[in-house]
């Protein structure tokens, strides 16, 4: 009975958790439009680290980004410059990701404000000290009171908050609600930078073509020759798309499904062994009982029918308890994880439940009825003497 409960419960729980995790991953993919692209300096992209120590960190200059605007296959070209420093408001302090970018940034990121406005071209031209802040920053520094119009300090410089971004949550497992965006011109003035840390944009139509256009333009401007195998080895930049990331996540999700299936399989197997053990342990006792029943006049078919009904009943009861326990545990885990990761939603796999139940019943019947059948073929005294 315990074996059945554990086996079925494990299958239900593991597949439920698996489904929830899958939901989180698929949610990441859904978020960004597949048209969004990003251009990074250096051959390794953002994986190379953010430090100015890595090669080609300054490869993408603002004249490059201006040149990109001549392309017809990409739009909303927004160079991004990261500004190191803390954000301070009164006695509150936080460690945000501060970026300077142009108004196109809001367009290619598909983001909205819940309060105030985005910065515009006028702010760019005047290098205004204004910022649009992420929802987490608004919460941390202003405790959800209206932040618009408040003056805060970024990297020891005073800024006026003009907008608060709508919460987005995790994108590719990174919290994007702790960002602060200022006009690019302001960031350039603060850092004296001539190059972008990243350029975000959107493909107008087909992004394979957009990719090729961006590459061709930059290779031409940087005087890069493409190796014979056509690889990107010589490039001093890297283009990424949300669609590419989606593909990666897609593979992750497939391997996750495989993983879950594997876990479910293992749980089924372990559960099956558990059930088998329970059934086999009771064989001795069962065999004696069968011997006794035969001794007092039970027919073979009386015994088989009884054992069959018992096995089915037992496994079904155990299976139902297992399902309830599995779902309950899954629910508790979901509730706990949900506090930390809001994308994690409670989920159960109906298919797995039926599979688990079927497995429990089949194992129960096979390992309950088979020994019983053997026992019922013994003479009563042999069965009674069984050890």
């Amino acid at each position: 009975m315990l074996g059945i409960i554990i086996g079925v419960g494990a299958v239900v729980l593991m597949t439920g958790v698996g489904k929830s995790v899958e939901g989180v991953i698929l949610g990441q993919i859904d978020f960004m439009g597949p048209q969004t692209m990003a251009l990074f300096p250096g051959n390794e992209g953002p994986e190379g680290g953010n430090s100015s120590m890595r090669p080609d960190f300054d490869a993408i200059t603002f004249s490059d980004t201006e040149a990109l605007k001549t392309l017809t296959t990409v739009k909303y070209i927004a160079p991004v410059v990261f500004v190191p420093g803390n954000a301070v408001y009164g006695r509150e302090e936080t460690d945000p990701r501060i970026a300077g970018s142009t108004p196109e940034y809001y367009l290619n990121q598909n983001i909205e404000v819940t309060e105030g406005r985005f910065h515009d071209q006028k702010d760019e031209e005047a290098s205004n000290s204004v910022v649009v802040i992420g929802s987490d920053i608004a919460e941390d520094l202003f405790f959800n009171q209206s932040a618009v119009g408040k003056r805060m300090e970024l990297a020891n410089k005073k800024f006026t908050v003009i907008g608060v971004l709508k919460p987005v949550g995790m994108v590719f497992f990174q919290n994007v609600d702790d960002r602060i965006i200022m006009p690019l011109s302001t960031a350039v003035a603060m850092t004296g930078r001539t190059y972008a840390d990243m350029v975000s944009m959107q493909a107008v139509d087909d992004f394979d073509i957009a990719f090729e256009d961006v590459r061709a333009l930059l290779r031409q401007r940087h005087g890069i020759t493409v190796p014979e195998d056509g690889s990107t080895d010589n490039d001093d930049f890297l283009v990424r798309s949300a669609a590419q990331a989606e593909e990666i996540l897609g593979t992750v999700s497939i391997s996750l499904t495989v993983f879950i299936t594997l876990i479910a399989g293992i749980s089924l197997f372990v559960g099956g062994i558990g059930i088998m053990n329970i059934m086999l342990v009771s064989v001795t006792e069962r065999t004696r009982e069968i011997g006794l029943r035969k001794a007092i006049g039970a027919k073979r078919k009386d015994i088989l029918l009884q054992i069959l009904l018992e096995s089915v009943f037992l496994t079904l009861i155990g299976g139902c308890i297992g399902i309830v326990l599995g779902i309950g545990l899954d629910f508790l885990i979901s509730a706990a994880v949900n506090k930390v990761l809001s994308e994690y939603q409670f989920a159960i796999s109906i298919g797995a439940i039926f599979l688990a139940l079927a497995m429990a019943t089949v194992t129960g019947i096979v390992f309950g009825v088979y020994p019983a059948k053997k026992a019922s073929e013994l003479s009563p005294i042999e069965a009674l003497r069984y050890e």
Partner: protein, 256 residues
């Protein structure tokens, strides 16, 4: 005994002896190894007898009882029950004989451990092809009463003392009122007071017309019977009519 418990179909009526063995042999085979246990047993037991089988441990008493009670097969020779040869009976026939004709009080009780006294005693009635379901309850209660356990009817059998288990086993054996009751060392695990109580129940059964075959290695227990068969190394070495020298009813009174 009510006629419904005596279906004569399949048997040669009541003329043949209840039990007759002719040159009966029994061997056990374990992994090809033959253990000869019974040799050339010739035995006739008639209806209404009270037979005690005696003999040292390992002499084959239980084995003989199991064969006579249709719980085990013999190896050679013939065993006839009401004139019908046991080896000609098929599984269903054997089940029917076990359900209606004979019952067994085992040396090791063999109760269902997690079932109540009531359920244990009820068990044979479930497989009885004739006794109607509505008679079961009264029969069970009557059987439990006859072994003096009415106040413990709903106890689980693993909550009982050895003597009480033995009495439950007897109640289970008599609940179908079979014509033939086997009792394998029914007093072996009991103190003399409980032993006498058990013998009283058996003697009462005998007095009401049941045939009793019991195994014992105690002379005092055997003396309750009116025939003693002695086994030694698998052979019958003595078979004598006795006049009962002990009456459990009187002994029971003496004890009190």
């Amino acid at each position: 005994m009510s006629s419904q418990n005596n279906p004569t179909n399949g048997f040669n009526g009541e003329d043949s002896p209840l039990i007759q063995t002719k040159n009966l042999y029994k061997s056990y085979f374990n992994e090809g190894l033959e253990t000869k246990v019974l040799f050339d047993i010739n035995l006739t037991i008639n209806k209404g007898e009270f037979v005690a089988i005696m003999g040292p441990s390992g002499s084959g008493k239980s084995t003989l009882m199991h064969i006579l009670g249709f719980l085990d097969n013999h190896t050679e020779g013939e065993y006839e029950f009401h004139g019908k040869a046991a080896r000609t009976m098929d599984e269903d026939m054997l089940a029917k004989v076990r359900a209606t004709r004979v019952s067994f009080v085992f040396q090791a009780f063999n109760l269902l451990p997690r079932a109540s006294i009531y359920q244990n005693v009820m068990l044979p009635l479930i497989y009885h092809p004739i006794i109607p379901a509505e008679e079961r309850d009264s029969r069970v209660n009557k059987a439990i009463e006859s072994v003096d356990l009415t106040d413990r009817t709903n106890f689980l059998s693993n909550q009982l003392s050895g003597g009480q288990k033995q009495r439950v086993a007897i109640a289970r054996a008599l609940v179908t009122e079979p014509e033939l009751i086997f009792a394998d060392e029914p007093t072996g695990n009991l103190d003399s007071a409980s032993g006498i109580q058990v013998m009283k129940v058996l003697q009462d059964l005998h007095d009401s017309g049941h045939t009793i075959i019991l195994v014992t290695h105690e002379q005092s227990t055997a003396e309750h019977a009116d025939r003693i068969i002695e086994l030694f190394d698998g052979r019958i070495t003595r078979d004598t009519e006795e006049f009962k020298t002990r009456w459990a009813v009187d002994e029971d009174k003496l004890m009190k």
